[in-house]
Subunit: 190 residues, 2 copies
Amino acid sequence: MNLPPLIQSFVLHFGEMGSRWGINRTVGQIYALLYVSPEPLNADQIVESLGISRSNVSMSLRELQAWNLVLLKHLPDDRRDFFTTPDDVWQILRTLAEERKKREVDPTLSVLREILMQKPASDAERHAQVRMGEMHSLIERLTTWYEDVKQLETDRLATLLTLGAKVTKLLEAKDKIVSLGRSKRMSEKD
Amino acid sequence: MNLPPLIQSFVLHFGEMGSRWGINRTVGQIYALLYVSPEPLNADQIVESLGISRSNVSMSLRELQAWNLVLLKHLPDDRRDFFTTPDDVWQILRTLAEERKKREVDPTLSVLREILMQKPASDAERHAQVRMGEMHSLIERLTTWYEDVKQLETDRLATLLTLGAKVTKLLEAKDKIVSLGRSKRMSEKD
DNA sequence: TCGTTATTTCAGTAATTACTGAAATAACTG
DNA sequence: CAGTTATTTCAGTAATTACTGAAATAACGA
């Protein structure tokens, strides 16, 4: 591996994290490298920087493309493929959430739904279904929230995050506000 | 494997998902089995149900305990260990979030912070630091939100989820509300 | 068309991770 | 204490996953 020390630490860390996720070490490293590079890199530059085989780079880039985490670019008068990550970190976050949902959450929901359709043949199965039902509705709740929130533009999403739990306090106030607004309009009493 | 079909599907699916996460197949299966069991199970019952070795069960249970995903119980006049999962799915969700944060997010934040402290020795490093800075502040934002929201009691959290993006609409109203409150207190003018 | 360059595929191998069985330890009981 | 039962440890092996190098394919340009 042939990288400036500061970048190398980052790349190595993402390699580690990669293996802690489903994604593997090389994929993590390539992603990290592209993420911090000022311009797009081609496969040979990645080979050079990370000291891994050309074929490994090819396969890992495919994987990153499958995850939609990487963009393919072309320079004029150069037929090689160059790769980058999107500039906007919020966009990256969205992509990550979307892909993980697609791979992990959706299949789980569909398995649960399918099982919940079946008729239990014993007490054990009956109890299991109840538990699966609880899990199912929790996950549904979370995904509904996610589907809702993911539509927000970045700065609204940022606001929502900054607000955090304070929202519930706002909520408590909501009823009052509503009635206040009403009463205000009606009689201005206090 | 020796389980009612409906439960078996669930267990197998969690095995799959387990390997898609960092957690492995057996760990996933054991967790699923405990999750749907009406009462706590001991190691031999797990061996029996899943058809795996006693030592594998022992190691996997350790792992689940390390994740805080499993509770150890003792029955009167029985010195064997029995295991369950918490009843409350929301609690399970919290534990999962907490553990993943601890293992994935916190170390990443600390690596990023450390790198950001260093002086860049080139343009490449300078640019890399900017990118890492963006990533760092995004992650910080998310964790701050998480730290905030995780304090909420379950039903408030549920409310917040149900509200979802509608919160931002409430937000637009916020300024009005605030100024309304202020003006109301001050002079009641309109 | 042929030669050149870029990329992918894939069989074989290396590396890692998961699992087992046997032995060790621990925690009790009579 | 010796005997019994429960649990853990760990060296060895099995299974899986990651990676490589060589060959195939693809996409040009002359």
